[in-house]
Symmetry: D2
Subunit: 337 residues, 4 copies
C-alpha cells in the first residue's frame, strides 16, 4: 500500500501517520520528493485495507497495491478451474452451452424446447421458477411447481439444470431440484444470499451486476469461495450504459480481463446483454472467439406468447444454426463441449 501525503503536510501530521502505521504492526518506507512525500507500507495489505487511513489529516491518497480478492485471484491458482455441473465440465477448455426459456411455463413447452436445444448441442438446461421482475405486477414464476418440471425435463433429456435463486430462504428448496444455482445481476451484491449458496457445494452461476466492475464481480465470487464452495462460474451479461438502442452494453473484453485476474470460468449471456435476437448470434460467435468458457442463450418455441422476456428469445431453428457455427469456432480454438 502507498500513502501519498498532501503538499504542505506538517511534521506533526507526518509523525501521526507514521505512528498509526507502526500501531498496525507495519513498516513504512519513506520517499521525500520535491513536492510530496510518499510512504510505501509493507506488511499484510488486507489489514491495511480495512483501515480508514485516508481519513488521517495530511493524507492525500491511499493507493492499494494488492488486489482485494484472494481465493478468486489468478495468483491463488495458476491453472484454470474446471467446475462440474452434473456431468458437464465448464472451464479449462470445456464449454458450457446453457440454453432454455427465460421462465418455466409448462411441462409441454419446456419439454419441446429442451428436446430441440439438446439436439442442437446445448449441454445445460436453464429455466426460471422464481423470477426477479422489475414490476410487482409481472409474472413471478411457478415456484416449486416450476422446479419440479425443470428437474423432470432435465432428467428426461439427460441435461443438468440451472435455475435462479433470489432469496436465502429458498436455497434449501432449490438445492433439492437444481444442479446449479444462478445468482442474477440484481443480486450480485446480495451478500447474505452469496453466503448461503457458499455453504452448499452445488455450482453457482454468478452474473455480473448492471454496474459492477470486474473487480466487484470477483469480490462477490470471493464471498462464495470464502464460505467453502469453490464451484463458481462467472457470467458477463452486459452493463448499463447511455446507449439506448439495446438493453445493455455487452462488455466483451471482460472475458480476457477476468481470465487474467482469476482462475474461475467465465461465460457470456448475449440474450440479456443485448435483448435483441438480431444481435445474439454474432455476439455468441464473438464470445467464443474472445475465449469465453460458454454461452448462455434464451430459446423459446413461441416468443410472442412467452410469459417473460419473450422478445429476446431465439427460436429453436435459429439456435440450431448458431450452434453449428459455434461448433466450428470451438474446434478452431481447441475447445470441447
Amino acid at each position: 500500500m502507498i500513502i501519498v501525503l498532501k503538499p504542505g503536510t506538517t511534521d506533526a501530521e507526518f509523525d501521526h501517520v507514521i505512528e498509526r502505521i507502526h500501531q498496525l504492526g507495519l513498516k513504512p518506507h519513506i520517499s521525500k520528493g520535491e513536492h510530496r512525500t510518499i510512504i510505501g507500507v509493507i506488511g499484510d495489505e488486507s489489514k491495511m485495507q480495512a483501515q480508514p487511513l485516508q481519513a488521517i489529516a495530511g493524507v492525500e491518497q491511499v493507493l492499494p497495491i494488492m488486489k482485494p480478492f484472494k481465493l478468486a485471484s489468478r495468483e491463488f491458482a495458476k491453472k484454470d478451474t474446471i467446475v462440474e455441473v452434473g456431468k458437464v465440465k465448464v472451464g479449462g477448455g470445456h464449454l458450457a452451452m446453457i440454453a432454455g426459456p427465460c421462465a418455466v411455463e409448462s411441462r409441454e413447452i419446456l419439454d419441446e424446447i429442451a428436446g430441440s436445444i439438446k439436439k442442437s448441442g446445448a449441454n445445460i438446461l436453464r429455466g426460471g421458477a422464481f423470477k426477479p421482475r422489475t414490476s410487482p405486477y409481472s409474472f413471478q414464476g411457478l415456484g416449486e411447481d416450476g422446479l419440479k418440471i425443470l428437474r423432470e425435463i432435465g432428467d428426461k433429456h439427460d441435461m443438468p439444470v440451472v435455475t435462479e435463486v433470489m432469496d436465502p430462504r429458498q436455497v434449501p428448496l432449490i438445492e433439492r431440484y437444481t444442479d446449479m444455482f444462478q445468482i442474477g445481476a440484481r443480486n450480485m451484491q446480495n451478500f447474505d444470499l452469496l453466503k448461503e449458496v457458499g455453504q452448499s457445494q452445488k455450482p453457482v452461476l454468478l452474473k455480473r451486476g448492471m454496474s459492477a466492475t470486474v473487480k466487484d464481480l470477483l469480490m462477490s465470487a470471493e464471498y462464495v469461495l470464502a464460505e467453502g464452495n469453490p464451484n463458481v462460474v462467472l457470467c458477463e451479461r452486459g452493463v448499463r450504459s447511455f446507449e439506448d438502442s439495446r438493453r445493455n452494453m455487452l462488455d466483451m473484453s471482460a472475458v480476457p480481463n477476468v481470465k487474467g485476474m482469476s482462475h474461475l470460468p467465465i461465460i457470456v449471456d448475449p440474450s440479456h446483454a443485448t435483448g435483441r435476437p438480431d444481435l445474439i448470434p454474432s455476439m455468441a460467435y464473438a464470445s467464443v472467439a474472445a475465449g469465453a468458457d460458454g454461452v448462455h442463450i434464451e430459446v423459446h418455441s413461441c416468443p410472442e406468447k412467452a410469459l417473460s422476456d419473450g422478445p429476446q428469445a431465439l427460436l429453436p431453428p435459429k439456435y440450431a444454426e448458431v450452434m453449428k457455427q459455434i461448433r466450428k469456432l470451438a474446434e478452431m480454438f481447441g475447445k470441447k463441449y
Copy 2:
C-alpha cells in the same frame, strides 16, 4: 400503447398483430403512413405491458404510454405523502435530518455522536448493525448487539432510529429495534426483501441502486406499496459513472424529477454520493435548494478509527456548521424540521 410496424410488413403479419390485440380484449386504432403503419392500442396498459408484443413478426417498436407504476405515481396522489418516523414527519414541507455513523461500533462512540448531532439539529439517528461490505473480509457489523445499542441511544436522545436490513430473514428482528428500515443501494432490486418490508407498517428508506433509473427506483417503491406499506421515503445517493474523482455521481435533478412523477418524499445522501467530506457541505445545501425532503449525512467523532467508511464521515463540529446553513435555507424555502 403504440405499436409501430416495420416497413414492408406483409398483410398476413399485419392481420396477425391485429388478431393478437383483439385476443387480449383491446382495441386497435390504425394509422397507415407513407413509410410505416402505427397502431394505437386502447385498453388496460398493464395487461399489454405484460405481453411480449415486440416478439411478433413485423413489429418494429412497442412504445408504452402509461408509466408502469401506479401506487407510487403522482397521478395516484396529487398531495405529497408525509411519512412519520417515530414522531418525526418527512415530506410535504417537513425535512428529515438523518445523521450518525456508518456502523454502530460501541455504546460510547454512538452516544457521543448522537448527543452532538441532536444538538446540531439532526432529527433521526442512523447506524448500521448489519453491513453490506464489498469484501467478505471487512467488518460486517455488530448484529443484534448493534441494534440494541442503537435503540438505547436513540431513546436516550429522543431520536427515532433507522438501520439497514439486508436479508428478508432479519426483518422481524430488526423491526423490534428500529423505527425505519433502510434498504441499501445494492438491494434496491432485491424483490423478496422489498416484499418482506412491504408487509410491515414501519417506514422504509429506499436507496436508489447504483445504476437504477428514476423509473426503476419508483418500480421498487411500488413493490413495497403493493404489499400494503405506504410509508416509503426515497433516497438519492449517487450513481455509478465514468468520473473517477469521487465515489459516485450525485444525480441532483432526480429530486425534482421524482417529485414530478411521484407523491413520495425523497431525500439526498451526499455522504455516499460523493465519499468526500470536502464535497458534502455544498451538496447538502444544494439538496435543500433543489427541494429535497431531507439530508442524510454520516458523522463520526474519529473518522480515522471508524470500522466502516471513516474517510467520508464529517466531524461533529463540521456537521454543526453545515446544519446552521441548512436551517437558513430551510427557512427561505418554507420547510420545517
Copy 3:
C-alpha cells in the same frame, strides 16, 4: 411521428396542437384513450423533427418513428457499401487490416514497422502526424514532415495510408499525402471538420465518440455523406464507462447493430478500446467473429520508447501471431483480405 397528450389536456390545448400540425402541412390521426389522447402524424418526418412540438402546452411526449439519418441508413442502400482505400476494398466481405504506430516518429522506425506488418498481412498503414493529446505538454506530432514520411513508407511497402485530421484548415494539406482521412473520437461531432472532409472524395475513417450512441455516429456519417463524399468507414473504438480496469469499454454489439441500421462498413479498434496489449488479441478475434469489416491495431517495435500511447501497442511478432488466427477466422466467415 406520434404525439402523446398529457392527461387532463384542455380542449383549447388540443385544438392548438391540431392547428400546428395542419400549419406544417401534415395530417393528424387521433386516438382518444381512457387516460390519454394519442395523435399519429403522417407526412414528412424530417420536417416535423425540426419543430419543437414538445414545447406546446398539453404535449407530454413526441415520439419519432423514422430514423433521423437517411443517406447512411440501411433503407437507403440494401447492399453493403464497399469503400476503396487506394487499391484496398473495405466492406461487403472485404476486411481492412489497418496497423501501424500511434504516431509517425521517424522514417527508420516507421519503415521497420511497416515492413513487418505488411508481411503479417496488414493492408493499410496508419500513423499520426497531427496528434490530439489530452495534455498541451505532450508530443503533438511531426506535422507535415510526418505526412511525408508516412507517404514515402506507404509507397515503399505498397500500402495505402491513413492519418488523422483534427482541424478543417489541415484538410487540403493532409489530402495531398494520405489515402484516407481519420476523424478521431474527440472530433466525431466537430461538424465543420466533417463538412470539410465531406467535400473531398477521399475515404473517411470515422471513429465513434467516447459517449456517442450508434445513432449519433450515423448522424455524423450523414454530415460527410450529405456533402457528397460517400466513402465513409465507421470505427468502434470503445466508449467511456464506470469500469476502471481498462481504458474504454469496447461495445462489440455495435458491429451487428450498425450493420442492421446502415450499409456503411464498420471496423473495430481494440487498441484504443482496451489500451491493454493483453486484451487486444482476443478482442481482435471477437471483432471478426462479430462481423466487423476490419480491425485496427497499433503496432510498435519498441513500445517503451514510443512518443505516444506506447503501452497499448503490440510488438510486431505478436501482431504476426494475431493475424494468423484472424486469417483462419476470416476464412471461416467467408471474408477476404
Copy 4:
C-alpha cells in the same frame, strides 16, 4: 510517480527499469515488499508522464502523484480568479447570470428576450450564430448576420454577449462581435480550436464534454491558458448517463470538486443539463447553493416556434421568478451580481 512491479519480476527486468529511470535523469527509491517491489520516482513528474513506462516488461502499474495540469491548478493560484466579461465580473464572489435564446433568430425576438431578461437580472446575453446540430438537416444558425444582431442588441441593453465558436477559422470573425467565446461540449477536446481562442485575450466559456471527467475539463482549460489567455470560465452542463428521463445528468458535485482543484470560475447550465423546463428552476437554485459562480439559462419568448432547442427554454416570466429566488440565495451565500 510510483512504479509497481509485477510479482515474479526478474532481476534483469528490475535492472532495466532502474536504468530507464536514471536515463531520464530521475532518482528511484526502492521498497521491496513481501509480494511486490515498489519504486518511488522523484523528479520532474511531467517528464515522466510523457514516458510510456507502463510498456516496460515487469511493470504492473504506473501511478502518477501530481496532477497533469499546472496553470489551471489550485496550487498555481490560491486566490479565485475573477474573469471580466465586458464590465461583468465572474468568479471570486461575483455571479454570471447568462441568459438568452439558444440561437439568434431575428432582431425582434432577440430584442424582446434581452429586454425582459435584463430586467429580471441577467448580466450577460447569450445567443448562437453558428449552431452545432446533430443533424446536417437542422437549422445551422444565421452566421455573421446573427453575430451583428447579437452585438447590436447586447449594446442596446448594455449587456456583454457570448456566442459559440466551432471552427478555428471563425475565431477572428467572431472575436470582432463577441465579448466572450463559448466552446461547446462537443468541442471541449477540439485542441486546435482551444489553441486558437488561447491566442485571443477575450474570455472563454468552456463547457464540459459529455463524457469528460473533471480532470479532462481542466486539461482542456490548460490548453487555453498555456497559449496565454488566462480568462477561462468553466461550465458544468451535464454528462451522458444511463438515465433516460432527462437529456443529461447534471453533475452538481463538479462545482465544489473543481473549486478544490482549480482557481478558475465554474458556472452551471441547467438548461442543457436537463433539457426539461420543469427541472431548471430547482437546479438553478441548487447550483448557487453548491457554490457555482453563475447560472446559464436558455430563455425564449415562444419556445414552440424556436428554431433550436425550444422545448428546453424558460418563458421570460418564469425566468423572472427564478431570478427572484436566486437573488435571495446569492445574498445568503454572500455573492454579488
